[in-house]
C-alpha cells in the first residue's frame, strides 16, 4: 500500500497481548492503535463540540495545536469513511458521532464531561470521619442483632457516605420531598450501612439502629419502604435497576431535575433483570440514572469470577450503551470526581464501577468471604477495638 501523508496506524499484529485478561485498558490500547494522534485529537474536539460545523472545529484545532488544516481535514474524512462521524447535510452542517463513534469514544475514554473538578481536603477529611462512624455503627448494630451481612455492609459504606454527605439533595424532615434525589440499595443485604447513613443524615434516630431486625422495630433485615429515607424496598436481588429506570423516566417526563442512584452488588449482576434494565435505560437515554456497582469481587458462594465471570465488566456496560467510570470505591476524591462527571453526561445513563474490599474496615473480614453473612459477637468486636 502506498504511504499517504497522514501517519499510518500501528498494525495490531505488532502488539503482544494476553487475551485471557482482556479488559478496558487492553481494549483501549488495541482500539487506540487503530487511530493516529490527529484522529484522536479530532474525536476529542468533536466530543466537546457536538453539533458545531466540522470546518470551524477543525480550523480552531488547527490554530490551537499548530497542525496544518489540510492534515486535519484528510483525517476527518478518514473518520467519516470509517462511519465514526457524520455531518448533518440538512442545513446546520453540524458534526455528530455515529453510534459506532460513540462506542469508540467511550472505549477510549474520550469525554467532555466534568473536566474541571477539585475537592476541598476538609470535605474529604470529614467524609472519612463519617465513614468510620458509620462502620462502627454497622458493626455494633449487627452484633446487637446477632445476624446480618457484614461483608457488603462494610464495602459499600464509602459510596453511601459520598452520596449522602457530598452529593445528594434530600430533606430529612420531609423524606418524600418530590424534588429529592433517589437512592435504591438494590443489594438490599447491605441495609445496615444504609440505615447507619440515614441515621447520620437525620432521617432516623441513632438509638433505633440498635433495634435492627427486632420484631418491634421497623429496621428490617432488608430495606422496607416504611423506613424514613428509604425510597424503594429491596432484598430480592436484581430488581433495583428496573425500578430506577421507572423513577428516572417519570422524573424526566415531569421535568424534575433529580437523579436516581442505584447501588448494585457485583454478584447481583448474575441476574438477567439487571441487563433488561440496562437496555431500557439506554433506550430512553436516562442520563439522570446512575448505577453504582459495589465491585468487591465476592458473592455468597465465592469469588464472582469463579461463580459466573463478569469481566470484562466495564466493556459490558459500554456495549449496553452506558457511560462508564471505574474508581477506587474507598477513595472519596475518586468517588466525588466520578459523581461529578456523570452530571455532565447528556445522552446516556452512567455506570460507576466502584472497586471495593469486602468487609473493609473490620480487619478479620477484609477480603475474607467467610464474613459474607457470619454473625459477629460483641466480644469479638471488643477484641478488635470497637466499642
Amino acid at each position: 500500500m502506498r504511504r499517504r501523508s497522514y501517519e499510518e496506524p500501528i498494525p495490531i499484529s505488532e502488539l503482544k497481548l494476553d487475551l485471557s485478561s482482556v479488559d478496558v485498558p487492553v481494549i483501549r490500547n488495541i482500539v487506540s492503535r487503530g487511530f493516529n494522534k490527529n484522529q484522536l485529537l479530532i474525536l476529542k474536539e468533536i466530543r466537546c463540540n457536538i453539533g458545531r460545523s466540522l470546518t470551524s472545529i477543525l480550523r480552531d484545532a488547527s490554530r490551537r495545536y499548530g497542525i496544518p488544516l489540510s492534515t486535519l481535514k484528510l483525517n476527518a474524512k478518514i473518520l467519516k469513511d470509517l462511519n465514526i462521524l457524520k455531518v448533518d447535510n440538512g442545513g446546520s452542517r453540524g458534526v455528530y458521532l455515529t453510534p459506532l463513534g460513540e462506542f469508540v469514544c467511550e472505549l477510549l475514554g474520550i469525554t467532555s464531561y466534568g473536566r474541571e473538578f477539585s475537592v476541598d481536603p476538609k470535605l474529604i477529611q470529614s467524609l472519612n470521619e463519617k465513614a468510620s462512624l458509620v462502620r462502627k455503627h454497622v458493626l455494633e448494630m449487627m452484633a446487637e442483632a446477632g445476624s446480618g451481612h457484614v461483608g457488603a455492609s462494610l464495602s459499600v459504606v464509602d459510596v453511601l457516605v459520598a452520596l449522602y454527605f457530598a452529593k445528594m439533595r434530600y430533606d430529612p424532615k420531609n423524606p418524600s420531598w418530590p424534588l429529592r434525589d433517589r437512592l435504591i440499595l438494590s443489594e438490599g443485604h447491605a441495609a445496615p450501612a444504609l440505615y447507619a447513613v440515614l441515621a447520620l443524615a437525620g432521617f432516623i434516630p441513632t438509638s433505633e439502629l440498635y433495634k435492627l431486625r427486632d420484631i418491634n422495630n421497623y429496621l428490617s433485615g432488608h430495606p422496607e419502604i416504611i423506613i424514613p429515607g428509604v425510597d424503594m424496598i429491596s432484598g430480592s436481588l436484581g430488581q433495583g435497576l428496573s425500578v430506577g429506570c421507572g423513577m428516572a423516566l417519570a422524573l424526566k417526563r415531569d421535568g424534575i431535575n433529580s437523579k436516581v442512584y442505584v447501588i448494585l452488588g457485583d454478584g447481583e449482576l448474575d441476574e438477567g433483570q439487571v441487563w433488561e434494565a440496562a437496555l431500557t435505560a439506554s433506550k430512553y437515554k436516562l442520563n439522570n440514572l446512575v448505577a453504582i456497582v459495589d465491585r468487591n469481587r465476592y458473592q455468597q458462594g465465592g469469588p464472582t469470577e469463579h461463580i459466573k465471570p463478569l469481566e470484562p465488566l466495564a466493556m459490558k456496560w459500554i456495549a449496553f450503551g452506558w457511560h462508564v467510570i471505574e474508581v477506587n470505591g474507598h477513595d472519596f476524591r475518586e468517588l466525588l470526581r466520578a459523581l461529578n462527571e456523570v452530571d455532565y453526561v447528556m445522552d446516556k445513563p452512567s455506570a460507576i464501577i466502584a472497586h471495593t474490599i469486602k468487609g473493609k474496615g473490620y480487619p478479620p473480614a477484609e477480603g475474607n468471604n467467610d464474613y459474607h453473612n457470619k454473625p459477629i459477637s460483641k466480644d469479638e468486636l471488643r477484641l478488635w477495638g470497637f466499642k
Binding site: 419502604i225 424496598i233 432484598g235 429506570c245 421507572g246 417519570a250 422524573l251 415531569d254 433483570q273 433488561e276
Partner: protein, 305 residues
C-alpha cells in the same frame, strides 16, 4: 375484549394526566397503539422483558403516578416474584392487566394458555383480583379499579366469546346475582358465566332451579352474597376457566368451609395443561369447561345435599 380495553385505557388517558401505561412489546396484540399515539409521553415500552416491566412500573408509581401494566397474563407470571416483592410489598398504585388469559388463546397451545394466574395473584397480600365476564362488565368497573388505591390484577381474555350483559351495574367487590334460584348456586367467573347461564336453562328443564352468580371480584371475595346463597340453596358449584387449584373454586371453598359448609363441586381444569385447538368450543369440550359439565356437576352436588 382487547378493543374495549384499548378504548377504556385511552379514554382514561384523556381524563387523568397522571396515568402511565407500561408495556412489554404487546402493544399490537393488546391494542395499546391508541394510547401510545395519543400520549407518547406517558407510554413506556420496555420490550420483551416482563421482569423489567414490573420494576419500571413500580418506579413510575413511586413518583405518584397511576400505572397500568398490560401484557400477556401467561408471561406476566414469569415476573410473579417481582409482582410479589415490588408491587405487593410496596402496595403502590399499579394495576396489572393480564390479556389472553384462561384458554382464550386456544390456537397457541399450552405455552400461552394461562390457567394459574388467579391462584398466583390471589396469594399476594393486598392484591385484588378482578375477572370480568364480558366487555360490558369490564367497562362498568374499569374506572373504579383505576381510581382505587393499591394493586389490582385484571384478568381479561383475548377476544370476547359471548356477551353476558346488555347493560351492567356490577360493583367492585359485590358479586352479581344474574339469575335467582333456590336449589343450587352456580358461582362463575369470566368466560364461564355465559356457560353457567346456559347450564341454568338446561337445569330448568330437569326441574332444578339454579341461581347464577357472577363473582367477578375474586379477591376480596363477596362474603355476604356467597354465604346468603349457600344458606338458601345448600349446594354450590363453581365454574372458572382456571385450574381447580387456587382459583375461584378454592376462594369459595375457603369461605364456606369456615363459615357454612355445604357440598361443593368445582368445574375447572383438573391438574392439566391446555392444548392447541382450532376453536374455543373444541378446547372447552376437551378440558371439561362446557355448560353440560356444569349440569353434571350440579346433579352430583345436589344429590349429596
Amino acid at each position: 375484549m382487547r378493543w374495549v380495553l384499548s378504548k377504556l385505557i385511552t379514554e382514561l388517558g384523556f381524563k387523568r394526566s397522571d396515568l402511565y401505561v407500561v408495556d412489554a412489546d404487546s402493544s399490537m396484540s393488546a391494542m395499546l397503539t391508541s394510547f401510545s399515539e395519543n400520549f407518547p409521553e406517558r407510554y413506556v415500552n420496555v420490550g420483551i422483558s416482563e421482569q423489567g416491566l414490573v420494576g419500571v412500573a413500580v418506579g413510575i408509581a413511586s413518583c405518584g403516578k397511576k400505572v397500568i401494566i398490560c401484557t400477556y397474563s401467561m408471561f406476566l407470571m414469569r415476573a410473579w416474584e417481582q409482582l410479589r416483592n415490588l408491587v405487593g410489598r410496596t402496595r403502590l398504585d399499579v394495576k396489572i392487566v393480564g390479556t389472553h388469559s384462561g384458554i382464550s388463546s386456544y390456537g397457541d397451545g399450552p405455552s400461552h394458555q394461562c390457567i394459574e394466574d388467579v391462584a398466583l395473584m390471589r396469594v399476594i397480600p393486598g392484591m385484588k383480583v378482578f375477572v370480568p365476564a364480558d366487555s360490558i362488565a369490564l367497562r362498568c368497573c374499569f374506572e373504579d379499579i383505576i381510581d382505587s388505591e393499591g394493586p389490582t390484577y385484571i384478568r381479561v381474555g383475548r377476544d370476547e366469546d359471548e356477551r353476558v350483559y346488555s347493560e351492567c351495574s356490577c360493583r367492585l367487590g359485590v358479586a352479581n346475582v344474574i339469575k335467582d334460584g333456590g336449589d343450587v348456586a352456580i358461582i362463575a367467573s369470566g368466560g364461564m358465566v355465559a356457560e353457567a347461564l346456559k347450564a341454568a336453562n338446561e337445569l330448568k328443564r330437569l326441574g332444578i332451579d339454579a341461581a347464577v352468580i357472577d363473582s367477578h371480584t375474586i379477591k376480596p371475595i363477596d362474603r355476604d352474597t356467597i354465604l346468603k346463597y349457600a344458606m338458601k340453596t345448600g349446594a354450590v358449584v363453581t365454574a372458572e376457566e382456571h385450574s381447580i387449584y387456587g382459583g375461584l373454586g378454592s376462594a369459595v371453598a375457603e369461605l364456606l368451609v369456615n363459615e357454612y359448609p355445604v357440598p361443593i363441586a368445582f368445574v375447572g381444569i383438573k391438574d392439566a395443561f391446555g392444548k392447541s385447538a382450532r376453536n374455543l368450543s373444541d378446547l372447552r369440550r376437551y378440558l371439561g369447561l362446557t355448560s353440560s359439565d356444569i349440569v353434571n356437576a350440579v346433579r352430583k352436588v345436589v344429590s349429596r345435599r
